[in-house]
Symmetry: none
Subunit: 125 residues, 2 copies
DNA sequence: TATCTGTTATATTCAAATTATAACACTTTA
DNA sequence: TAAAGTGTTATAATTTGAATATAACAGATA
């Protein structure tokens, strides 16, 4: 799995780990039932404290993405990814609606918004 | 003026004040040349330190929204439409960045986001 | 039993935000 | 001109969240 943590991201480390693992689950790089790296091994790999990894795992469990069993490890939960994706699409739709409102009120053209959109989405390389 | 500060917002107090005042300026509730509450009076009203209010005012001045004169007070600067537009563009940019994060994590393609974007923006044009 | 797993408790470090306090400087006005 | 408003500055302390270090504990499994 490809977990990269940066200090320049603005996000705390435990959230970066959370996001990386969510991505891996959505992309099916981590499959249902698959075991995640142990808190200690991932902590060693990333050269951080295992408590930070544990915190990320705890949040992921609370959100229903993984299930942790003492003595065994953490496993990807069976999940209806389509359902989650629908939720995320709605979330995105809400953001776009807000953008629409702001742009309308401030006399910002659709083209200008598209320009920003391209800038941010094509940073990806 | 209606300044509400919450601890649940995640934003530091000085930023919440900044945002409230920007809103008031955008909505013309605070008009050009109008005097803002003094740092001490607003601090008393919100039951916070005047230094926190000062920090908010300092940032607003740095951004060009108000002008502070020692011994007199802080005043709303003459409206600069470009400044306001820049501010709104920043707001939109923040939304797009959030969309980018959500879509990346949830494996939602750029095309799907564009689709939503078109739907919402072409509804009323 | 050894060695993996996760869990818990305690204390510490660190940075950013916020506060408390006191003194100082400028403006207005009674 | 003195008083009472403004803002300014400096210093130290506190608070909070994130992250760490360490040690001890508990369950799973070969």
């Amino acid at each position: 799995m490809n977990i990269i943590i940066t200090n320049s991201s603005g996000l705390p480390i435990f959230e970066q780990i959370e996001n990386s693992i969510k991505e891996a689950i959505f992309s099916n790089e981590l499959k249902e039932g698959e075991m995640l790296p142990s808190v200690r091994s991932l902590a060693n790999e990333l050269k951080i404290s295992f408590l930070t990894v544990k915190r990320a795992y705890d949040e992921l469990e609370k959100a229903g993405f993984i299930k942790t069993v003492q003595g065994k490890g953490s496993y990807v939960s069976p999940k209806n990814l389509n359902l989650i994706k629908e939720e995320k699409l709605k979330e995105i739709q809400n953001y776009i609606e807000k953008i629409y409102e702001v742009s309308k009120i401030s006399n910002i053209s659709k083209e200008e918004v598209i320009e920003l959109f391209k800038m941010i989405f094509e940073e990806e390389i």
